[in-house]
């Protein structure tokens, strides 16, 4: 599935300073029954966001009007657990385009990249500073520049670079799709398969 190109994202951020946020928290299994990719944002962080009777849990950050934006800032080891891409879909569908953390679980990171959500891994010191800035002033603007591979806080000297392989970077900048790439080398794949029958 195609996605929007990613270039420079300027946005306020939503802070979630919890470590090991797992995919079952991001989207509980009971909401994985859909056969289409629609409506997952409503159930993002469902059990942290809502009481059993579906009333909002006021203390949870997504229910706090002070915080909004297209960037989610999470604690270390974000996205651990299951391979469900629904977790990345829920984040995207809710309106986030970037997740910043000091460490990501592997599959979650891949899933994000595959649907056009940019996972930005920063040092734990820088992450702490972002949390401080956002808590102090929820209107602080973060700037994520994919081309330059930097993230900074607008109007301050806080800046850090991040890693991404050039293939994926190019894909995100141009909205290219991996499957199109592979379909273009189908002959090569079939040749490989014929040589290695299993």
């Amino acid at each position: 599935m195609g996605y929007d190109k990613f270039n420079v994202l300027k946005s306020t951020a939503v802070p979630l300073p919890i470590e090991n946020v797992d995919t079952d928290q991001i989207i509980p299994a009971r909401f994985l029954k859909a056969t289409e990719r629609i409506g997952f944002g409503d159930n993002l962080f469902r059990d942290w966001r809502y009481h059993e009777d579906n009333s909002k849990k006021d203390e949870f950050v997504l229910n706090n009007k002070k915080y909004s934006g297209k960037i989610l800032v999470g604690g270390k080891n974000f996205g651990s657990g299951s391979s469900r891409e629904h977790a990345a879909w829920a984040i995207y569908d809710y309106g986030f385009r970037c997740v910043i953390s000091s460490f990501f679980a592997d599959i979650f990171k891949n899933n994000c990249l595959n649907i056009g959500v940019l996972p930005v891994q920063v040092s734990s010191g820088f992450l702490e500073k972002i949390f401080e800035v956002v808590f102090e002033n929820p209107n602080s603007i973060l700037i994520v520049d994919l081309k330059q591979q930097i993230v900074r806080v607008d109007g301050s000297s806080l800046i850090e670079s991040f890693e991404i392989n050039s293939y994926k970077k190019n894909n995100l900048l141009n909205g290219y799709d991996d499957i199109d790439y592979l379909l273009n080398i189908k002959d090569k794949i079939q040749e490989f398969s014929n040589k290695n029958p299993l």
């Binding site: 919890i18 090991n20 079952d24 299994a29 080891n77 299951s82 392989n165 050039s166 499957i179």
Partner: protein
Amino acid sequence: MGKTLFDKVWDAHVVKKINDGPDILFIDRHLVHEVTSPVAFLGLKNRNIKVLYPEKTFATADHNTPTRNQHLPVKDILSSKQLKALEKNAKYHGISYWGLGHENNGIVHVIGPEHGITLPGVTIVCGDSHTSTHGAFGAIAFGIGTSEVEMVLSTQCIMQPKPKKMRITINGKLNRAVTPKDVALFIISKLSTSGATGYFVEYSGEVFSEMSMEGRMTVCNLSIEMGARGGMIAPDEKTFDYVKGREFAPKKDDWNKALKLWSKLSTDEDAVFDKEISFDGSKIEPMITYGTNPGMGISINSGIPTCDQHDGSKKTFLKSLDYMNYTQGERIIGKNIDFVFLGSCTNGRIEDFRAFTNIVKGKKKNPNVTAWLVPGSHKVEKAIKEEGLLAILNDSGFELREPGCSACLAMNEDKIPQGKYAVSTSNRNFEGRQGPGSRTLLASPIVAAAAAITGKITDPRKLTV
């Protein structure tokens, strides 16, 4: 420089390398289930293409299926829709489908090995993180997301940067009542849930070579819980014996050819790993988790760590204890429990049912405990009956349910109620994993069996004397 087992299998599957990008890896076996596939099939429809190699693709229904009355239509409308979608997609693309009620049906990671779909030296993917299970055979097996499912369906390839390599060596003799599950929970408690992120793990040493294939599957299954993409164990005679004669395993001449190839699948002596870790197997005790991630495990007779002993965020640690309603420093033994779940792709194989039955034999289930015993597949279910385990279990007050993932992820109606404690042989103790508000303690089948008898967290060694 020599190659690791992982290198050998990986390098043999690279179709193309992309500069400063991922490798394009050919996939020999693609396992598909109902939950992570519908959107992938929709993708194929939008591209107007068909599955490239349907004969390399195997579909089953497991995540979202009831474990009672499987002969009746599925009541939950959404679940039923998902199952029908897979059936329809499988049929349209010519993929073999072992749906509900099919004699080969079961949890995807249990049926792969059972039918010889899982073989040494192959690459296997599935839209489920515990695909790492198949590494027990010396295969490279890992979980993928739905976009990648679409990729493999349409091109039989996956794009992955080659992970780093870690070797975990455990020598020594395991103590009584220490099972493969305990070994895995022990490793995760040492490494944390992110300690192996970015790595592919090879397990080596006496403890693993002594282990049964079922045990190796349990260990490899849990690799993902330390953040690793997968884990693998070099195939040996035990592996070959297990595979031989199974439905999809090579036969006759092909078998001999395969054996020749497979016997080369081990790490060369001069191969180098990015990281090496070793433990003494004799130091491992029966394990149990007390918190809300699989890294929060302790030996059953020790105390829950205090905030100071815990590295990592104190806030997250206390949040986790608060969820479990436990206090730092207190002992876990003797705590009351409400539910016991025996099953999942971690511990839902015949060996697990044998171990459980062995403990409960001649005793009665505690009346305060609700026990869900869910075989990993119909084959396991059949063996439980044929080996006479069912009769023993029934005498002790246990019932057997029908196969599926069940309370491992609680997508169907098998949900642990709010606030209740479950000793579970599955793989994740995340908040709400087994149902909203449920509290999960991960343990081996025998620790689960001891808890089912006493209604408390009990050292199984105390129970059997």
